[in-house]
């Protein structure tokens, strides 16, 4: 009888140990799975480079930011393939610029619960482009700059607000990392607002000086810093046509500018043409796509340095 009792106890002890082992394993698997979900970087898809920069600055190693637009394509007019739309749909977060930026967004299905319109908070400050003339950039097809202006980040105080929206979205997704995100965001905000103050101090001397914008993409820069600019449709990599020169001459009659602001370094023939008209060239890169060198901040710092001669 005793032998039987011992045997039963041994069996039950064995079962208990096995159960403990199984429970321990399951706990490890569960903790491992939870930890790996919490530790794995957030998969973020963005529609332009400034948002990529903001997300990477704020998220640090806790985010993996994908910006699938090729380097030589303007993200505003880029259209993703179905597979790329699928990748956006699968992302943990989709950061949109808003204000009509990235036209394709209005024609695809994206999960709103994971999509953040970073400029929605200041939608009452959206600007519009008046020009409705169509034009083309090489073989990329005709387009028109009509409707809302979209390069919101060129007003760096608005860029700081967009960065704040990115911070809010990241903090909601990963509340455990909120303090890290907050510290990174404050550092980024400080950089953006310092630059914002610098532009204001640069332009404050002569902000009424007339200038020409080579493309209608500087509305927020002009509005934010009170610049006196008029837009034409010149491409930095294309020689201006006689029609474009006539158009510029007409503009100059009412708007005697001595500077033209370009999106990128213009070709020599264009600058020579402008020189004959008494116009000098300066580059202010909107930085919508990944710059060949440096980052968003360094490009903006260079832009401000390029503006300095105009307002001296």
């Amino acid at each position: 009888m005793n032998l039987l009792l011992d045997f039963t106890q041994e069996i039950s002890m064995f079962h208990r140990q096995s159960l403990h082992r199984v429970a321990l394993c399951m706990a490890f698997v569960f903790i491992g799975a939870t930890a790996s979900t919490a530790d794995s970087p957030l998969n973020i898809y963005v529609v332009n480079y400034p948002l990529k920069y903001f997300a990477e600055r704020i998220g640090g190693p806790h985010v993996k930011v994908t910006f699938p637009v090729p380097a030589d394509v303007d993200p505003v007019y880029w259209t993703p393939e179905v597979a790329e739309i699928g990748a956006y749909q699968q992302a943990d977060l989709i950061l949109l610029n808003g204000a009509g930026y990235a036209k394709w967004v209005g024609k695809v299905s994206l999960p709103r619960s994971r999509t953040i319109d970073t400029s929605r908070e200041f939608k009452d400050r959206y600007l519009t482009v008046k020009e409705t003339m169509t034009h083309s950039h090489g073989a990329k097809g005709k387009h028109a700059h009509e409707g809302p202006a979209f390069t919101t980040w060129l007003d760096l105080s608005l860029a700081a607000k967009q960065a704040e929206a990115v911070f809010g979205a990241l903090a909601r997704k990963r509340p455990q990392q909120k303090d890290t995100f907050m510290a990174n965001f404050l550092s980024l905000k400080n950089d953006l607002l310092t630059l914002d103050s610098r532009i204001k101090s640069v332009v404050s001397n002569r902000n009424t000086v007339p200038m020409i914008f080579s493309h209608p993409v500087y509305e927020y820069l002009a509005k934010g810093y009170g610049l006196n600019g008029r837009s034409v449709h010149w491409e930095p990599d294309q020689e201006p046509s006689p029609g474009q020169i006539t158009e510029l001459s007409n503009v100059l009659e009412m708007h005697p500018a001595q500077w033209m602001i370009w999106e990128g370094p213009p070709i020599t023939s264009a600058t020579e043409n402008l020189k004959t008209m008494g116009i000098r060239s300066a580059v202010f890169d909107p930085c919508g796509n990944v710059p060949p060198e440096g980052d968003f901040l360094s490009v903006m710092q260079r832009n401000v340095s390029n503006l300095e001669p105009i307002f001296r």
């Binding site: 259209t79 179905v82 739309i85 699928g86 749909q89 209005g106 024609k107 695809v108 299905s109 994206l110 999960p111 709103r112 619960s113 409705t132 169509t134």
Partner: protein, 392 residues
């Protein structure tokens, strides 16, 4: 065994009487069971979906119409609200807002315009093909695909709202890009499109030839420096393809475009209560509902009707049983000479009783078998019957 054989011979000889008796017993047993089956299924269908949908926001009016349209895509058409209603919920930060626009149909199946969040919310998985990606695509519920014989790559044309609406919008030829897994819910019978595609079906968004580039003078009504007015001859695209998608556009502010309801999924119970509180003012033009409460009210009414039906069936059953007893009693009287003969040839009274019992047993068993078969048939079609009878 002999008694059963003799009883069997007797009832097959008196076929008409037997058939009438079996039919009476079958019907009287079938009715309450079938009713119960249908009610159980309706309760399952209605409640499971209602309970899994926390809150619905829609225009003030019939709560039942709003819930039935939003949850089961029924034919009821509640007043529309604008897309601002969904943005209002998003902006509150209290809940996830899933807009729904259920107004159009394609070959008899409802076209449900919604956002991608709906598919995550209802846990809808694509069985074949892929999810919605661009404007003009649709993903079809399992049963709708089966009945319409659709596969990814096929096309489905939206039905015009009225045959006599000559000035109405052109039907949209939608590309079927995926088929959902079967869920045994109303989602199986729906055609899902992006909300923007639903607005294209309505004519709020459209694509047409580039009016600036028009060469044909018959297409241009008036041309000025800033505006080109096209004639009615201007070709509008009836299918959204890779080639013409860029020409599709929406006029005006899409925030005021119509939707039929918003499913609100609060972040927690407290947020849900706060959200409900925001729709209480008298000036409010929208209502917020807990679908479970609305469906519960509907079921209470159905159960009340069921109680009346139960009472009627009970009285009819009692009358039928009494009639059957009468039939047997009269039958015994008619068979008096036959019973006397059986007795005289040496059968005991017990054998005669067995003989009669066997007859009753065969009739009742036949009725039970028939009733069982009929209930099995009903069980097979309860899903459709419930949709037809209670959901519409």
């Amino acid at each position: 065994m002999d008694s059963l054989y003799l009883a069997y011979r007797y009832i097959t000889y008196n076929r008409i009487k037997t058939v009438v008796l079996v039919a009476c017993i079958t019907l009287i047993a079938f009715l309450p069971f079938a009713l119960q089956l249908l009610l159980d299924e309706s309760e399952r269908q209605l409640m499971s979906r209602a309970v899994s949908t926390p809150l619905i926001v829609g225009a003030k009016g019939s709560a039942l119409d709003l819930v039935m349209n939003s949850l089961y895509f029924g034919n009821e058409r509640p007043e529309t609200i604008s897309m601002e209603a969904a943005n209002r919920i998003w902006d509150s930060g209290l809940a996830m807002a899933i807009p729904m626009y259920t107004r159009f149909q394609a070959r008899g199946f409802p076209i449900v315009g919604t956002a991608m969040d709906y598919f995550d919310f209802r846990n809808l998985r694509v069985a074949s093909g892929r999810p919605l990606a661009v404007l003009g695509e649709c993903v079809v519920g399992a049963r709708a695909a089966e009945e319409l014989n659709l596969e990814p790559g096929d096309h489905l044309i939206s039905s015009p709202e009225s045959l006599f609406d000559l000035a109405g919008v052109y039907p949209l030829k939608m590309k079927v890009v995926g088929i959902f897994d079967r869920t045994h819910t109303a989602d199986d019978l729906a055609v899902f499109v992006d909300l923007k595609t639903a607005w294209v079906i309505q004519g709020l968004g459209h694509g047409h030839q580039d009016v600036i580039q028009l060469k044909d003078p018959t297409l241009v009504l008036k041309r000025s420096e800033s505006n080109v007015a096209a004639t009615a001859k201007l070709y509008h695209y009836t299918e959204i393809s890779e080639k013409n998608i860029d020409s599709f556009h929406f006029h005006g502010n899409t925030e005021v475009y119509p939707i039929s309801a918003v499913i609100a999924v609060p972040t927690d119970e407290k947020s849900g209560t706060i959200l409900q509180g925001r729709y209480l003012s008298k000036e409010e033009t929208q209502q917020i509902l807990r679908p479970a409460n609305v469906i519960d009210g509907l079921l209470q009414n159905i159960f009340r009707i069921k109680n009346v039906l139960d009472a009627v069936v009970s009285v009819v059953a009692l009358a039928t049983i009494m009639a059957i007893i009468l039939v047997f009693a009269l039958s015994l009287r008619l068979r008096q000479r036959e019973i006397q003969t059986i007795f005289k040839i040496g059968c005991s009274r017990l054998t005669i009783a067995k003989l009669l019992a066997a007859e009753i047993l065969i009739i009742v068993s036949s009725s039970a078998a028939l009733c069982g078969a009929m209930l099995m048939v009903v069980h097979q079609f309860t899903h459709d019957l419930v949709r037809m009878l209670f959901i519409g």
